[in-house]
């Protein structure tokens, strides 16, 4: 469950409002797609949710924990995948995963099962003993996803998770997201691939110039705009 209230963040001494009084509620068991043009405030919002940026105003609660006052508890329930997989180049894949499992206090049995599952799913088992610096962008992305989900977090927050993934891995990840939500968990992700959002998401939010300009299920969005495809809705709403 994610609860965002009156969230604002400005850059350049208040001149550029990256996120402007954002209110959002994502329920448990829901896949929420966060859309918007480049520079609309998607990544800024996500980074505030996971504690990488400090909000100027407003509050965020993840699974009932306030990210400001109960940051450690909130972080424990989040699995975050950033838009750019900057990870420790000089660790091996398996060392990175073990590090993540250690800091999230995952038991040896659980980590063994989850790491094996993910490595097999992403076809990374062969490369797990290599240094991360030898990985391709896509392989790094897969490793980051694995590291983020290793503690089976209740809330997944993913910033453009499909970028760099091959079609098979992207497909598997989507299936995994669906399965995760069916177990009563929450997935919040940003994407530019409207098809994915249209097919996968229970609800969609569109942000433009820091403001949430539309939110709802696909049916609700269609009804509101009068057009049928998400692409048209998106273009219409973000044009002005």
């Amino acid at each position: 469950m994610i609860e965002i209230k009156n969230l604002s963040k400005a850059y350049n001494k208040g001149q550029v409002k990256a996120v402007d009084n954002l209110n959002l509620h994502v329920q448990s068991g829901e896949i929420f797609g966060f859309l918007g043009p480049n520079g609309a405030g998607k990544t800024t919002t996500i980074k505030m949710m996971v504690g990488l940026l400090n909000p100027d105003e407003g509050s965020i609660s993840i699974n009932g924990y306030d990210t400001k006052t109960q940051s450690i508890q909130a972080k424990s329930t989040i699995g975050y995948v950033p838009d750019n997989p900057d990870i420790y180049d000089r660790l091996t894949g398996i060392e990175y995963l073990n590090f993540m499992a250690d800091v999230y206090r995952v038991s040896p049995e659980d980590r063994q099962k989850r790491i094996n599952d993910f490595l097999e799913m992403f076809e990374l088992s062969d490369a797990a003993s290599d240094l991360i610096k030898s990985y391709s962008h896509g392989m790094k992305q897969k490793l980051v996803v694995t590291g983020a989900l290793i503690h089976n977090p209740a809330v997944w927050i993913l910033d453009e998770p499909m970028v760099g993934l091959d079609p098979k891995s992207a497909h598997l990840l989507k299936e995994y997201m669906r399965k995760h939500c069916e177990q009563g968990n929450t997935v919040f992700f940003s994407t530019h691939i409207l098809e994915v959002a249209e097919k996968l998401c229970d609800r969609i939010g569109i942000i433009n110039k820091g403001k949430l300009i539309a939110i709802g299920t696909m049916a609700e969005l269609r009804q509101g705009s009068g057009t049928s495809s998400l692409e048209n809705i998106f273009l219409e709403l973000t044009e002005e």
Partner: protein, 563 residues
């Protein structure tokens, strides 16, 4: 040609961070005082070094004048400038030509290899002026003023100074281009870093010994010996351009200009040869090193079991991560570890060479050794040893760049559910273990070479460990207060990080203050045991606020830093 200049301008901008600087002045006005302070500090430090060098060169000039060879000062200047540029140029050029991150962007552009190579070479050349100018300008002024040279001297000098880096750099470039064509070193970047680091270390050590040797005696004698020593002649003979430069400046009329022309002609010839060679080989060797290989070792089930079963506490996991990243990044090992371990060795080495080189008035090594172990020098010897231990601990770059080294991966530390205090304790323990290592090495040295008794060893060891803790904490605190997280090359995190310098400075000031206090209580004939007791108390008292300050700062920095 236009393309070349566009590329050159862009490279120049990147190299000196001109756009970044403009942005800083326009958008981040808060940081201007800090930038100015750094610039003033560098100018001050650099200025005093140049002053010292000018003084030395003036002495050389005077000694040369007495021997009827005043131009020796010019030969020394040109030989040393070109030699230094040649040696360091090889590694510099290797880095800029073949290991630059911009290569993958430049190769697809519609540019000839010689244009890319030329623009990169021009940047290296401009950077090398930073080496050449301080080495050449003072001697040229000293000689020019001292011998009352006219207008043409200064014109020739200007041309020569500007052209000086060309010959050693083209030679280094040609060497590197040919080397890279046949030996694919791109895959051995780590090895090259280590080799380069040790060459630098050996050169500075060699220089140190050479100067030490020359210095035994008075100043005039040493300069006379310097002038007569074969080294200069040898280098001058095997590297004639330095002699040509001297003759161009020292020679009058036509012969002076002839040598100048020879110097310039050879420079241009080498440059043309380098570009020609580069056009043929540069891209070939760059491309042949692009592919990266993986071992592709499949996890065996036995291996797997061992790997997953090793779960540890978050703090231990962070300590292990810190150690792995440190040990696997050559530049961190060279700057963070080797100094701490090699430092005590160098000190011992200096002590013994100093002793054995001692002529009249100084002690031999044996005499010094007996002196250190005499009862009346007991406390002085022990405290000096302790001073060395603490000094080495205070120079610990592992602590003063700990947070900076995380760079762009700092988001992981911000995101994981581990309290900043726990993370910083892990970093402190890692840095402290480096200090521990250094104390251990020093103590072993003291036992082996200085024949310290067990009790003195125990005192130095325990007080060394106690004192290393606040020093390590303070060094870490500096990095926590102003971490340098934005960098693309690990060099910037450890070598070009002001925090390292600040940490050393603060450690030195602190040690001087403690040292002064200790000297005072020793002078008033305080019993030895009380001196050690008081020292232990002071160090302990220092530890508490250092740690508290560190933990507070960590909470704040981890919360406030945005990535």
């Amino acid at each position: 040609m236009n393309l070349f200049f566009t590329l050159f301008r862009t490279n120049l901008n990147l190299n000196f961070g001109i756009s970044a600087l403009k942005y800083r002045f326009r958008k981040e006005s808060k940081k201007i005082p800090e930038t100015l302070l750094i610039v003033i500090g560098i100018l001050f430090g650099f200025g005093s070094l140049i002053g010292l060098y000018s003084f030395l060169m003036y002495q050389v000039f005077s000694a040369g004048l007495n021997l009827g060879q005043p131009e020796i000062v010019l030969t020394i200047a040109f030989v040393s400038a070109q030699f230094i540029i040649l040696i360091f140029g090889i590694f510099y050029i290797l880095g800029v030509f073949y290991f630059g991150r911009d290569l993958s962007m430049l190769i697809p552009l519609p540019l000839s290899p010689y244009q890319v190579l030329g623009s990169k070479f021009a940047i290296v050349m401009i950077n090398e002026y930073l080496t050449a100018l301080p080495l050449l300008v003072p001697p040229i002024i000293i000689y020019g003023m001292g011998t009352g040279q006219g207008f043409f001297y200064w014109v020739k000098a200007l041309i020569l100074v500007l052209a000086t880096p060309a010959i050693p750099l083209t030679i280094a470039s040609i060497f590197v281009i040919v080397l890279m064509r046949f030996a694919n070193l791109r895959k051995r970047k780590d090895l090259l870093t280590i080799v380069g680091g040790f060459v630098g270390l050996l050169l500075s050590l060699g220089l140190n010994f050479w100067i030490q040797k020359l210095q035994s005696g008075n100043m005039v004698n040493s300069i006379q010996r310097l002038i007569e020593s074969d080294l200069i002649k040898m280098i001058g003979q095997s590297f004639p351009p330095s002699i040509w430069a001297t003759l161009a400046l020292g020679g009058q009329g036509f012969s002076g200009f002839a040598y100048l022309l020879l110097f310039l002609f050879v420079s241009l010839l080498l440059l043309a040869a380098m570009l020609r060679l580069g056009n043929q080989f540069f891209y070939k060797s760059v491309l042949s090193g692009q592919e990266s290989t993986r071992k592709r070792k499949v996890l065996s089930s036995k291996n797997e079991h061992r790997r997953f079963n090793s779960s540890t506490s978050p703090m231990m996991a962070i300590i292990i991560r810190e150690w792995r990243l440190l040990l696997r990044t050559p530049i961190y090992v060279l700057n963070g570890l080797s100094g701490v371990i090699i430092g005590p060795f160098i000190l011992v080495l200096l002590f013994f060479t100093q002793g054995s080189a001692g002529g009249s008035g100084s002690y031999t090594t044996e005499q010094l050794l007996t002196l250190i172990n005499r009862p009346e020098f007991m406390i002085t010897g022990t405290l000096s040893a302790l001073c060395i231990v603490l000094f080495t601990a205070g120079m610990n770059l592992v602590a003063s760049t700990s947070l900076s080294r995380e760079g762009q991966t700092f988001w992981i530390s911000k995101m994981i559910p581990v309290k900043p205090k726990v993370q910083i304790v892990a970093k402190l323990l890692q840095a402290y273990s480096v200090a521990f290592l250094s104390v251990l090495v020093t103590v072993i040295m003291l036992a082996l070479f200085f024949k310290f008794s067990l009790l003195r060893i125990a005192i130095v060891f325990s007080l060394g460990l106690l004192g290393s803790l606040p020093l390590t904490a303070l060094n870490l605190l500096i990095d926590v207060l102003r971490p340098k997280l934005i960098w693309t090359n690990p060099h910037e995190a450890i070598k070009q990080n002001l925090n390292g310098l600040l940490g050393m400075l603060i450690s030195i000031i602190l040690l001087l203050l403690i040292g002064a206090g200790v000297i005072f209580i020793v002078m008033i004939k305080t019993p030895d045991s009380l001196v050690y007791g008081l020292l232990a108390l002071v160090l302990l008292l220092l530890t508490v606020p250092s740690l508290l300050g560190l933990f507070n700062a960590a909470e704040r920095t981890y919360r406030r830093t945005e990535v």
